[in-house]
Symmetry: C2
Subunit: 251 residues, 2 copies
């Protein structure tokens, strides 16, 4: 891949437990935050069930659409863990016992004195051509195949796999952002935001109302740009508007 200014990524969350509401997904938020930090733009997050055809279809769509694809979930030892075989099918490659993964897992189970049984050996089944991603917690590795990164679903393990994957990613230009907490409702500032937005095409302006109670409500306005000078200029202009209209705000 040639070095570019902007990189995109998508996230595929695999798991019936998210779709049933049993589990609140927090992994995609962790990945999104990290990508924003390093200038990679997440354009798509999807949650799909533990159904092989759907997983394969989603992988093939997203890995072509964005520079990187991160998947979470479905790489454990049980019958509903079908991510690795789905990745292999999506890429049209074989899947078999990866000797490196097998050694890591064998050493771990020998050490803790637990049988390295058939189910556990299944976690060494990795698509051919993949690079392993270290899992310092429960050892069963994630992996990377071309631009697709396959992480565990358990948040702690996912987070360390994500950290261990940053070295493989090309970083984009960091989007600078400034947040202004405004003591008003959106209707009071909508016109000013619309004006700012139309003046500067390089700017991205978000307006996020919050409503905690009848006395604690307002709007977080987030102004973003890759250009620091333009960002400062626009933030100043917005604050001037707030002052002129006697609207309180915090930085």
């Amino acid at each position: 891949m040639n070095k570019k200014d902007k990189y995109s990524a998508s996230i595929l969350v695999i798991g019936d437990e998210i779709l049933s509401g049993r589990t609140q997904d927090t992994n995609s938020n962790q990945i999104a935050k990290k990508m924003t930090e390093i200038g990679i733009n997440i354009s798509d997050i999807r949650v799909v069930p533990d159904t092989k055809e759907i997983i394969i279809e989603s992988i093939n769509e997203l890995r072509k659409k964005t520079d990187y694809l991160f998947t979470t979930g479905g790489i454990g030892p049980t019958h509903d863990d079908i991510t690795a075989e789905s990745i292999a099918s999506a890429f049209g490659v074989e899947i078999n016992i990866n000797q490196e993964a097998f050694s890591i897992l064998k050493a771990y189970y020998d050490e803790i004195g637990s049988p390295f049984n058939e189910a556990r050996q299944r976690m060494a089944m990795i698509p051919v051509g993949a690079t392993l991603i270290d899992n310092p917690i429960s050892k069963a590795p994630g992996f990377k195949l071309e631009n697709v990164f396959v992480f565990a679903g358990i948040p702690k393990i996912m987070t360390s796999m994500l950290e261990n994957s940053i070295k493989y990613l090309d970083k984009g230009k960091i989007v600078l952002s400034q947040s202004i907490k405004v003591n008003a409702v959106e209707g009071d500032i909508a016109k000013a935001l619309r004006l700012l937005d139309s003046e500067e095409s390089e700017l991205k302006i978000g307006s996020y109302p919050f409503f905690n109670s009848d006395v604690d409500f307002g709007v977080n306005v987030v102004i973003k740009s890759v250009d620091e000078e333009r960002l400062i200029k626009s933030v100043d202009k917005f604050k001037e508007f707030l002052n002129q209209n006697s609207i309180n705000f915090d930085n």
Copy 2:
């Protein structure tokens, strides 16, 4: 729609702030839990940016794919609130001032003594043919057009719009579920789960490892069925396996 045993739904979360990681989406989890309670199966959750073409494309794909589609976000008064116009475009209908919505909003702003300005009047722009969904908190209504339900992004408001929409939904057969917290790791129970899974096609078995610390880890096994007798039989069989293998568990 004829009465069926099973109903499906999808969720479209609209908002740059979710994709950047700034905000953790909790709305889709709320919707998913509620749907599971009333026997509607969520098959797809997507998060997309505040970009009109992408929103329209996603709406048209998902509203055809599932019985119901719920969208969250993008119905406020600011420039980045483009959900209502995207819905109108997706359905090929006009969007204009909805008199009912206009009256509700006017009465509200008159009451609180705040100007019902142009930005706020924008929240009365509703696709033609839509039915309003009441918002008891900040009054700007959501709406329903055919099988698509359009909710606000603020969790409190979303939750009340969701409650106010249940009456429009056909309910499916409730999926019964039993959860067993097992003091073991997945590798110890994978074989038993695989066996159970292959014996009973009516059953859905999920295995959700958790890992809080070196001493607090295990697996939540969730067995689901629409048939109570089969569910009980399978849970008993699984517990028998746990007892035979001296594995502790809680219900």
